[in-house]
Amino acid sequence: MIPTKEEWIKALTERHGKELQKAFSATTVAICGLGGLGSNIAILLARAGVGKLILIDFDRVDITNLHRQQYKADQIGMYKTDALADNLREIAPYIELEAHTERITENNAVKLLQSADIICEAFDKAEAKAMLTDIVLSELPDKYLVAASGMAGLGSANGIKTRRVTKRFYLCGDEVSDVNDGMGLVAPRVALCAAHQAHTVLRIIAKQFEV
């Protein structure tokens, strides 16, 4: 039996307190890229009771994604936006979702992201990460950006950190472990980095800005 919306909110409020849960519920977070980082960030924020997620990815679920991304074997071939929306609704049935199955570029980023309060960069390619950082911080100066760099390989879990680069720009990861240098991405270390990002989002909502 799926609980009612009232029961759902009550359970979250008991855990987080009234003020904080109200703030979580009132926040819109955009997640740019729904791979190992983005799919984990989305699930963590949905569980925490964030009110609305904007999910953006152009790609489909592939068998090579399943070792680290939050999709299921029977979702291979689906658009990641559709598959993740299904999974999120199973976990948090009352979350508001807005999905865009398209590639984020310099030309559409502002339009796609302008209704978000906080933006998570969860791309795979370094060039895309740099592009989004440049656009968000220069053209959407009232937003917060939580980006990630360096989470590949079997290096120490303790190497993953969160750093506040500027007032509105946080960077999670070890900043050096490139996906092309070694064995590629491993589920727990990517999930750790995603958890850093999701936790940073919640801390920003709670106005705890220092890392």
Binding site: K129, T133, S149, V179, L185
Partner: protein
Amino acid sequence: MVKVNGTELDVSGKTLAEYLATTSYDMKRIAVERNGNIVPKAQYSETVLQDGDSLEVVSFVGGG
């Protein structure tokens, strides 16, 4: 002197683009912060580094 990623460098008077050209950074993979604000990529060649500036070059690596 300009502080770049914590190190004092004698690059004041150069544009950001001129300074970056002397480094091994891949222009497509970086974001540059100057005195707390991001410098948009389109402004690298017109941003003149001043004595006392603090610069941070964030160089992204792949994976996600």
